[in-house]
Amino acid sequence: MTSILTNLFDGVAYGMLLFVLACGLAVTLGLMNFVNLAHGAFAMAGGYVCMVLVNRMGWPFFAALPLAFVSAATIGIVLERTLYRHLYARSHLDQVLFTIGLTFMSVAAVDYIQGSSRVFINLPAALQGQFDVFGVGIGRYRLMIIVICGLLTIGLQMVLAKTRFGSRLRAAVDDPRAASGLGINVPQVFAFTFAFGCGLAGLGGALSAEILGLDPYFPLKFMIYFLIVVTVGGSSSITGPFLASLLLGIGDVAGKYYVPKMGPFVIYTMMIVILIWRPNGLFGRTAAR
């Protein structure tokens, strides 16, 4: 019983992490209908920035996290303004090719700069180990992830639902043409959201170094996970991707624990079945129109 609860807890932490990593992609796909396979590269960038700051320069972990966000967001906005912007109107094939190219470049570049082995971020002692609550093992680090990601999720939901920017964004996702007809600067909204999504991915990358493992092949290894979150969750709200992330996280952890031999088999089967059953995603409208 306790092992079930521990697994559930780990699964939730994993799912929350996936949500922070992937929710930027949901906006890219939903708003601009742009297939961005390079999303993981931004996460990797954030992770490596955090690693360099903490391990090499001796920054405290919690001070490095915001910087991981800022650096990934900066890279995001630069690339969006210089490169991505030209490809919104292109075919999906072009977008796929372009972002695969970017991914390959990022993988080789990080490999060149930092080496190909897995890196670890030195965590403060307060985050290490675990404690028991009624016999259920709770990892301190995972608890922190749940708290941070939970707060972020609530914050995002508030911004989307309550602020003026949120309503602009929702309008633009619903119908970009009508939104721009009403005077909403859709490209600007999108550029800002894109950068923010990349920043979140960078933050997620920094947080995930401990759990998912951070090496130059991160963008390729987890690409499918991000895509699953978005396609299964849909992009009409952030609730869809959030629930999909939790489902994926819990499913993956449970799958690895109870049927370790089947490995990632469980996840892929789940994804294909869901996509066949509901090609438009489990929750609400799909990203692709």
Binding site: H86, Y268, P279
Partner: protein, 342 residues
């Protein structure tokens, strides 16, 4: 001339053999005699060309974007490997066909999943199928050899007459023969009414359906055929290298394949062949400059190709040949690529 006979006339003209095509194949054959020390890399190019041709059938003619074409390559590779290893089908050509058929069955079974939904769902499903098969191959390591791959495959002589030699000479001509046969078949297919209907579907599925083309059935058919081709390419891989390992399913293989096709151009069958040659040459060039980081340059090539625009790039590349043809033949150039955006 009525409109319908006009279409038929153009289709027939397109389908006719050009001197350029014969010259192309003669050059390929000549390469086999001119560079006897390079059989291994040339065989590799032929395999890649066949694999790219398979994707071209899907992407260039039917407009299906697949990110998991390595699935069929891998199934073909393992099928051929297992057939040879356990001595089930000893004769290579027969084993090749059987391996192709195995991939074809898988292609037929999965085609129903792929034709549903839009581009994005297709991307996900094709990618998912390839990853699923990779996970399966890893799981059943007692059959597939796991991460070590299938080892100790010994190929029997072709038709029981021609043995495989260690320099890869047999392998090269064997691959070339297979490629040529399959190319001729693909050429026949894409110029048939069936092929024309595929192009109609690619341009506008809704309109194609309105003119009475059974869209889904055509897509299933071409997907199955492409799976067969990819399976044959995979089987050739196993037969000529005597190894099959987990990386036959790798995502990189599918992604590289896209690049091959994009370099060569889609929708005219030769794209895959030319792309395979250029891709391997690029890869060689990059790995001599930076052995470990050639992927960076490959990525850069992809990004540049997309940013410049594929059509524009092909116009530039064909500028000189077209000029020459214009001067010599005094007529409109024939080397034009009918490329509409996929």
């Amino acid at each position: 001339m009525s409109a319908s006979s006009d279409v038929g006339y153009h289709a027939q003209r397109q389908a006719r053999w050009h001197y350029g095509e014969a010259a192309f194949w003669l050059i390929v054959l000549a390469c086999g005699f001119v560079f006897p020390s390079r059989y291994l890399i040339m065989t590799d190019i032929l395999r890649l060309a066949l694999f790219a041709m398979s994707l071209d059938l899907l992407l260039g003619y039917a407009g299906i974007v697949s990110l998991g074409h390595a699935a069929f390559f891998g199934v073909g590779a393992y099928a051929a490997g297992l057939l040879a290893l356990h001595g089930i089908v000893n004769e290579p050509v027969l084993a090749l066909v059987v391996a192709g058929l195995v991939a074809m069955v898988l292609g037929f079974a999965t085609s129903f999943l792929v034709i549903r939904g839009v581009d994005l769902t297709r991307l996900m499903v094709t990618l998912g199928i390839a990853l699923l098969l990779e996970a399966l191959a890893e799981r059943f390591s007692n059959v597939t050899g796991g991460t070590d791959g299938l080892q100790g495959i010994e190929m029997q002589p072709i038709f029981g007459e021609i043995p495989f030699d260690m320099f890869g000479k047999t392998g090269f001509f064997y691959s070339l023969a297979v490629l040529l046969v399959l190319f001729l078949f693909a050429r026949r297919v894409v110029h048939s009414p069936f092929g024309l209907s595929l192009r109609a579907i690619k341009n506008n599925p809704l309109r194609a359906a309105a003119t009475g083309i059974p869209v889904n059935r055509r897509l299933i058919a071409i997907y199955t055929l492409a799976a067969f081709y990819a399976g044959i390419a995979g089987a050739l891989f196993t037969q000529t290298t005597a190894i099959a390992s987990l990386d036959v399913f790798a995502f990189e293989r599918s992604a590289d394949l896209m690049l091959v096709l994009v370099i060569g151009g889609t929708g005219y069958l030769y794209g895959g062949l030319i792309g395979a040659v250029l891709f391997r040459m690029l890869q060689e060039l990059f790995s001599t400059i930076t052995p470990q980081y050639w992927q960076f340059w490959i990525g850069l090539v992809l990004v540049v190709i997309v940013l410049v625009g594929r059509q524009r790039l092909h116009r530039w590349m064909l500028y000189v040949p077209n000029l020459v043809i214009k001067q010599i033949a005094g007529r409109k150039a024939v080397v034009a690529i009918p490329e509409s955006d996929a």
